[in-house]
Subunit: 202 residues, 2 copies
């Protein structure tokens, strides 16, 4: 049987608020900014900084990242290839819901597999903006805020992306930034300019 | 290893937008309106009508229901007790994210098990408003928009809530409405009055 409880014979309401209505209310279009790249290179930091800048411009924004996903929705997933794929699948579906709610939605996850990112893209092809946070591995290892690269090099963390597990670079990301070469303000501006060019912001 | 990519040594931004900031921007508080009740009694219709009324008042709202969840985030779940529990768990976690994003969030699912609803409540105890759409089974069977009750009575649908599977009534729902006795407008008003009383709307 189905939990799907939407009645068709009850005609009490004649209009459900849709994405277009919400975009009009918000004064901007919605989209998914899908940040991808190696660990420790500032994906989440950049996503939060863009989100804050947009918020200060009066936009509705939200960031999905490890902080609010891994301990909640995806706490029953591990780090096997299958679980990583399911992790990204769920994030893509949630991002789609947020975009439908009219929100400029950001996701900040390594998301190393091209196929997984493309599956997320396929959910919202018109509104999906891949942001490749292009990392210099040497800079990642030097920053290494949590000592993860050091542990990975010592073999203490198996399947660490960039060291002992693959990262499949985006082939056609809509936006490419290198947080090791450009200051944060410039990276934020790059993303916001792209949103303007695409008509997300007017 | 961890997909959790939030750096701690990069101090580019000093403020992440939080729920309180968003609530201030929106001019109302956020919450989760958790509609529960038997199939075909208008949970989703009521949730959509409340959402539309709130939207017209200038609020930010969103409805999670079978339409946008069962074919997306939860399409890999069936209807076994375990899958029903995981279904509701994920919906609770997504509702929490939406509430964190400042949105008056509604969920419209049968959600027959008290323990599952209580688990969702525990995620946001201060902001969880259970709306029991109290059904008259006879009215459900008479309406039966999809012929589901008829099929369930004929034994063609196993484990149909209210017929051959249990529905555990809420013991302390914050709001109780009976769409078989009160017109939709009155039910909508009941919910909106409750939001005012709780300070969600000012």
């Amino acid at each position: 049987m189905s939990d799907e409880s939407k009645s068709t014979n009850i005609t009490w309401h004649d209009h459900e608020v849709n994405r277009e209505d919400r975009e009009k209310q918000n004064g901007h279009k919605s989209c998914v900014l899908w940040y991808t790249g190696l660990s420790g290179y500032g994906k989440s930091t950049l996503a939060q900084a863009v989100s804050t800048a947009l918020f200060e411009m009066g936009c509705r924004t939200y960031v999905l990242d490890g902080d609010n996903i891994r301990h909640g929705l995806n706490k029953n997933l591990g780090f096997s290839p299958e679980d990583r794929t399911e992790n990204i699948r769920r994030i893509g579906e949630v991002a789609k819901l947020f975009a439908d709610a009219g929100i400029i939605t950001s996701t900040a996850f390594i998301s190393p597999y091209r196929a997984d990112r493309d599956q997320a893209r396929a959910l919202l092809p018109e509104s999906f903006i891949e942001v490749y946070v292009k990392a210099d591995l040497a800079v990642c290892e030097e920053r290494d805020p949590k000592g993860l690269y050091k542990k990975a090099r010592a073999g203490e963390i198996p399947e660490f992306t960039g060291i002992s597990a693959p990262y499949e670079e985006p082939l056609n990301a809509e936006i490419v930034v290198d947080t090791g070469k450009a200051p944060l303000e410039a990276c934020v501006q790059t993303v916001i300019d792209a949103l303007k060019e695409r008509g997300i912001l007017s």
